[in-house]
Amino acid sequence: MTTNGAKMTYLSKTLILCAGLALAACTNPNRFDDAGGAGTGAGGLSGSAQDPTSAAYFQQAIGDRVLFAVDQSTLSSEAQGTLDGQAQWLMTNRDYTAVIEGHADEQGTREYNLALGARRANAVQEYLVNRGVAGNRLRVVSYGKERPIEICSNEACYAQNRRAVTVLAAGLGS
């Protein structure tokens, strides 16, 4: 359009798109305004640690986790000892299934750590299956670096975070 001799370009296309898009911006920003936290899916302890068939006993007396070296998914002899105990316990307590959570420390990208956590969880699963635990009682999940257990930023914490945790769930394997 021309106004007082000034050069003006009337953008009819922009008019329509602007109007439409601006309406889309009217969505309520508070529709997901919650304060809830996210859980890891790690079940709470059940039963007493005195009861050798309880999840609490598994976690505390058997040991529910193994640790890994930087970037590695190889099971140390110490880790293998822990997993031997886990396998034996799982064979005795057949009402439980388990999810094996693989984790990484924060040194690494999000995507790489997800893949690395999966390798670690898988190493534990394969070991347990080789020791006689039915594969259909075990699932693996990787949390990458999303759920550190220790939150300092040095090797003392990183060593605890490079882990695979066998989390028990009640219920028969399917």
């Binding site: 602007c18 309406l23 893949a115 690395l116 999940v141 990787s142 930023s153």
Partner: protein, 441 residues
């Protein structure tokens, strides 16, 4: 190329001119040549045609100034220093008033409300020392709620006409809003304008969500969620906030999705039996095709803008490095050869560079390199920088920076591909995994 200017101002002009590359006209910033001194400009309040429009006139001018000065390429001559007053959009500009305060560019505008209550914004850009208009005046019409977008559109025009590059202000960023300590951090998808305004949430924080990625038109977002207890890829419609899980085989984990340039398929990582490879999924049919078959980790795939190639991360050599393969898979060539570990490569929208995360000697960097691995440049360094995303014009990169220790927190930062103008992006809360939208229509 010096134009005739009043002798009174000649000395001032000569003092200022060397700060700018003079390639194709008097008012020009060559981004690639590295601007040392930002170009001074003035943007008085837009002239309101009614009392109801006055506040819009002021606010629009402020957003334009925030956009332009935020690039580091422009410097606003503060309103308090103005001698001239723009009281009518149509009256001739008194260039001497703006030369006197050394404003090289002047942006004037008018704002009003039409019969339907819509906002009408007009503007012109002037080359003050040449005493002429730079390009044509334009008019935008939109809802009153969309006033910030109209301001961004004006600023994009100014940026574009002076730098010769595409703009990036009328764009949005989808990211992960974070709260709580590292060991129980709550995450949810959030959407905002590129400058942090108009924050809204796309999911709640009942499940971990990771790495949202905009579609090529900005209408959809791919992301990874632990909604089922296992990482799985979802596609979310931005307008309706409706979402659905993409089909992946039972007992697998999927993550690191990115759209193909046509928006109809995506590449992602799928983990099965502990091994992570790259797959392509056709969204309409749900059919997946496997693109890599190595026993190593293959992840973080990103398409070239023409869709013909994919850059990705693999530790097949023993450490994570960057590789390029054809979009259909097959042989890959390694492109990263520096000291350290490379990850999350993202192809530039201009096609000329790959941005990446690099880990070296206990530090993290955001860097860029050419597709043959040459001209690697590290733009940032900190305890933890990762996850670059490109501005629509391929000139600015946004990324996550996380601070260390028990109180560590993630925030978004942006930096020019020259390495200049590093700054935090306001999000109000902890924030990670940004994905920059294309310019909006």
């Amino acid at each position: 190329m010096m134009r005739m200017i009043p002798s009174l101002l000649a000395a001032l002009m000569l003092w200022v001119m060397p700060a700018f590359a003079q390639s194709s006209g008097p008012l020009r910033i060559e981004i690639t040549e590295g601007v040392i001194e930002p170009m001074p400009y003035a943007v008085p309040d837009f002239v309101a045609d009614s009392a109801a429009a006055t506040e819009f006139g002021r606010n629009i001018a402020r957003v334009i100034a925030s956009d332009l000065s935020g690039t580091g390429l422009f410097r606003e001559v503060p309103i308090q220093a103005h001698i001239g007053r723009i009281t009518s959009f149509e009256s001739p500009v008194q260039f001497a008033d703006w030369r006197a305060v050394n404003a090289q560019a002047l942006i004037t505008g008018a704002v009003g409300l039409d019969g339907a209550g819509r906002l009408v914004v007009r503007f012109r850009i002037y080359d003050v020392f040449a005493g002429q208009e730079l390009g044509n005046g334009l008019q935008f019409v939109g809802t009153q709620d969309g006033w910030r977008r109209m301001a961004h559109k004006v600023a994009d025009q100014v940026y574009s006409r002076i730098t010769g590059e595409g703009g990036y202000f009328d764009s949005r960023v989808v990211f992960v809003a974070e709260s709580g300590p590292k060991d129980q951090r709550a995450k949810r998808l959030a959407l905002m304008d590129y400058d942090g305004a108009n924050l809204s949430y796309l999911t709640d924080s009942s499940s971990i969500v990771l790495a949202p990625r905009f579609s090529p038109t900005g209408d959809r977002v791919l992301y990874t969620s632990y909604e089922t207890g296992f990482p799985q890829i979802y596609v979310l419609d931005v307008a309706s906030v409706g979402r659905r899980a993409l089909p992946t085989p039972q007992g697998t984990m999927s993550f690191a999705p990115r759209f193909a340039p046509d928006g109809r398929s995506l590449v992602y990582s799928l983990t099965q039996g502990g091994n992570t490879d790259i797959y392509r999924l056709d969204i309409a049919s749900g059919a997946s095709t496997r693109l890599t078959t190595a026993p190593s980790i293959e992840t973080a795939p990103s398409f070239s803008p023409d869709g013909s190639q994919i850059v990705f991360e693999s530790d097949r050599s023993g450490t994570p490095q960057l590789y390029v393969m054809a979009a259909g898979g097959g042989e890959a060539r390694r492109i990263s050869f520096g000291q350290g570990r490379y990850g999350t490569p993202v192809w530039s929208p201009r096609g000329d560079l790959v941005a990446f995360t690099k880990q070296s000697k206990g530090r993290f960097h955001i860097g860029v390199m050419r597709l043959d691995g040459s001209e690697e440049r590290l733009l940032t360094a900190s305890f933890l920088d990762e996850g670059p995303t490109w501005a629509p014009n391929g000139r600015v990169i946004m990324f996550t920076r996380e601070t260390q220790g028990a109180t560590g927190e993630a925030r978004l930062y942006s930096v020019d591909i020259s390495g200049r103008n590093l700054k935090q992006v306001p999000t109000g809360t902890g924030a990670s995994d940004p994905s920059w939208s294309p310019l909006q229509n």
